[in-house]
Amino acid sequence: MNLPMFPMIIAEAYRPFMDPLPAWENGRWPWLLIPLCVAVSIVYKSARCKSMKAVFREAMGLTLTIILGMIAAAIVLGFLVRGLER
């Protein structure tokens, strides 16, 4: 198969809602957690903040905190797993 054509073939075959998103490669799926973090932060801060003017800034700060927390958890768990494997 001609490799440069491969993503285009997948894109043509994808039917929204009918097919799962072709994002199962290890390098791609973790990026899909970022919109989830953004949405959780926006809704949480919308409920918490008195003024909606502060929501965007507060939500971006919370998003960054969640993502950094997940990265830290991944590093710790990675070291733990490697340590247990030895």
Binding site: R15, P16, F17, M18, D19, P20, L21, A23, W24, W29, L32, L33, P35, L36, A39, V40, I42, V43, Y44, S46, A47, K50, S51, M52, K53, V55
Partner: protein, 197 residues
Amino acid sequence: MADQPHSDSTASPALVALAAWVLPGAGYLLLKDYARGMTVGITIILLFFFGLLIGGIRCLEVPGYDPHGHKLFSWYVNGTLNGNSVPIAHTSTEPPSSTDGARQFGWTFYEHPVEELRSKPWNIPQFLFGPMDLLCDWWAVQVARPIDPEHPSKGYVAVRSHSRVNELGILYTAVAGLLNLLAIIDSSHRAIRTEAV
């Protein structure tokens, strides 16, 4: 758009909670807190449908139906164990024939709701998203049924997702429902405070 709810809003907390379940963000809109309502509503709806785009519509597991969209029936028949008569439970997509001596026959979700929900627990947070989730459940059942070989042109079967993509689809839709629960509680709490003023 207003940042704070107006004091002239007289919606009852129960009505606000119901509106927030029917349409995400509508509870705040009833309290005339338009900016909050639009922000919360659009974010939750986008999150739910983005989950369906990732995992496909069939990442929604509907209680009472098998993975191929067939309605599940359950019943009991009398059997023997160590010489004693015991009831044996059956579950199938086909109703029992009249000669089986089946009793307590009915739709599985009606006969054993707790077991069905326990086997498909993500349906509970997804249900909190409101009637749009029920509509998507109906759609998921419709497109899960295999195409009739005699009429291959009719029908539109959706692909079932697996692995990480399926997990992400379920996660997005379930988190959307749970965030809507947060919005339901917060908007009804604001309605109580407005009533008390």
